[in-house]
């Protein structure tokens, strides 16, 4: 924690304490493909403050998901350092939970909602404590009435809520989300975005959010990171500083929001008239 503080260069409004939750230092990631090893990420440097909401954007195939997998300890780095609450990451760290895009594959189809949400905590506490934590987490995502259903009986939006509740039940300090709303329709997505904002307001969880949706990234985040080039590195780092709480209409109509959105599209290589 004491060395390397110089890499925390970004201004952010979310991290009032200033202490660092996640940091990447000259991160390099190599994956082995059909044509041998390929560098996916190189010289990736950034940090995330406690309680901050950071989005990672990038074109399809730019390595966003790979970056998140490295942060979550599911994928090993080929070089550089990743620290999580000051501890070097090797394997999924305690207090960090990843929420995957494919909610249908991520839930246990043979367990009802309550037992799905209890999966991560049931071994470490009594049944009553576990269920009261589960009910609390389900209430955060407005699913307290559906605890006895099987996940495949629920809509896609509700299944993703279950996965988020399962993560929240573990009371994580960091939530890593890999395009969590990518497979959902626009209306469900908007309501889940607002629920996520609300949950973060209540719990103060640090959130790293991978998405390919520019509007979603700007709307939700304190800071937006855009991955550019191959191998990818952080090309643009943009603090949004939009006032909270945000809402789908007035925030998205504000000139600041539109200006930020314009900048991010530019960083992704879009030009006016194309």
């Amino acid at each position: 924690m004491n060395e390397d503080m110089s890499i925390d260069q970004s201004p952010h409004d979310g991290g009032d304490s200033g202490s660092i939750s996640l940091e990447c230092d000259d991160l390099k990631v190599t994956l082995v493909g059909a044509a041998g090893p390929v560098d996916i990420l190189r010289d990736v440097n950034f940090s995330v403050a406690k309680g901050e909401f950071v989005s990672i954007l990038g074109a399809s195939g730019s390595g966003k998901t790979t970056l998140l997998r490295v942060l979550g300890g599911l994928q090993a780095a080929a070089g550089g350092k990743v620290r999580c609450n000051g501890v070097r990451v090797s394997g999924p760290p305690a207090g960090v939970v990843t929420v995957f895009q494919d909610y249908a594959n991520s839930l246990l189809p043979w367990r009802n909602i309550r037992r799905n949400v209890g999966l991560g905590i049931e071994a470490s506490m009594s049944k009553d404590d576990c269920y009261s934590r589960v009910d609390e987490a389900l209430a955060l995502v407005n699913l307290q009435d559906r605890w006895n259903e099987y996940p495949w009986r629920l809509s896609g939006g509700m299944q993703q809520r279950v996965q988020i509740a399962r993560a929240l039940a573990m009371k994580p300090s960091i939530l890593l989300m890999d395009e969590p709303f990518g497979a959902l329709d626009a209306m469900t997505r908007a309501s889940l975005q607002d629920e996520l904002q609300h949950v973060q307001g209540l719990t103060g969880t640090t959130i790293v959010f991978v998405t390919h949706d520019v509007e979603e990234a700007v709307y939700l985040s304190d800071r937006v990171l855009v991955l550019q080039k191959t191998p990818a590195a952080v090309g643009l780092e943009l603090a949004t500083a939009l006032p909270r709480p945000r809402d789908q209409m007035s925030t998205k109509e504000s000139p600041d929001y539109l200006r930020l959105r314009h900048k991010v599209y530019e960083a992704l290589g879009h030009r006016v008239g194309h």
């Binding site: 599911l74 960090v96 494919d102 189809p109 043979w110 367990r111």
Partner: protein
């Protein structure tokens, strides 16, 4: 009760019943004439006689005991070995070649071996029933354990589950429907092998009764025994599915095995 009646396949049943009536008619009208094909009515009478004098129950009990005891032991051993093979890499490396060699040998070839080793005994029948059912249970368990959704294993890592609870809470439940399929296949093989063992080895049970009836030129009795074997196979299979649905409702329903 209404759910049971609505689920019953009346059309399928009437087709089956139609064939029985046709069989009866063909023989009564002398349209076909084999010396030793009795009409269904005679088979029915023979079955009733065998039940009344107690021979049917005695033989059925002997054969089903041998088949079921061997099959139950095979299910337990097969699931345990299948899990170990799937979970312990070295065990797989050392033993998979032997497993492949043993299971591709025609099982009936082991019948004389078992007779030689265990004599004309119930024990010999149980050993054969066990050996026949072991392979489908073991291999289906192994395949099911390997077939777990990779994302679920990642969820297990993210939730920091221990290796034991990853096996118990993620892999085994997702292998359940595979295991039940293996047990159903095994049950059918257990019955066949037990009958073969009784025909060529131990002079007892339905297999021996069948051969005896044939040699005594009692075709009606022979067919009565065949019907008894068929019906008990159907009942055992249906019972197994019902028990599996009862015990593992979530697993079976999620793999499309519900209703």
């Amino acid at each position: 009760m209404s759910r049971l009646t609505s689920r019953f396949n009346w059309l399928g049943f009437s087709t089956f019943f139609g064939f029985i009536v046709l069989w009866e008619l063909l023989i009564r009208l002398k349209l076909i004439s084999f010396d030793y094909v009795p009409p269904p009515s005679e088979v029915f009478v023979a079955a009733r006689d065998l039940i009344l004098n107690g021979e049917m129950q005695l033989n059925l009990q002997h054969t089903l005991t041998a088949a079921l005891v061997g099959w139950i032991i095979a299910s337990v051993v097969g699931v345990i070995l299948g899990v170990l093979l799937a979970v312990l890499r070295p065990m797989w490396t050392y033993s998979m070649a032997s497993v492949d060699a043993l299971r591709s040998l025609p099982i009936v070839a082991f019948v004389p071996v078992a007779v030689l080793l265990f004599g004309f005994s119930l024990q010999m029948e149980i050993v054969l029933s066990f050996y026949g059912a072991l392979w489908p249970v073991l291999l289906n368990t192994f395949a099911g354990m390997r077939d777990v959704e990779p994302r679920l294993l990642e969820v297990g890592r993210v939730m920091r589950l221990s290796k034991a609870s990853r096996i118990w809470k993620l892999q085994l439940p997702s292998a359940t429907s595979h295991i039940v399929v293996g047990m159903r296949l095994g049950l059918a093989i257990s019955l066949v092998l037990t009958l073969v063992a009784e025909m060529v080895g131990n002079p007892a049970g339905l297999g021996f009764a069948l051969v005896q009836a044939a040699q005594a030129l009692q075709p009606a009795q022979m067919f009565a025994y065949i019907v008894a074997i068929g019906v008990s196979g159907i009942i055992l299979n249906a019972g197994l599915i019902r028990v599996a649905r009862l015990l593992f409702s979530g697993q079976m329903a999620s793999s499309g095995e519900s209703k």
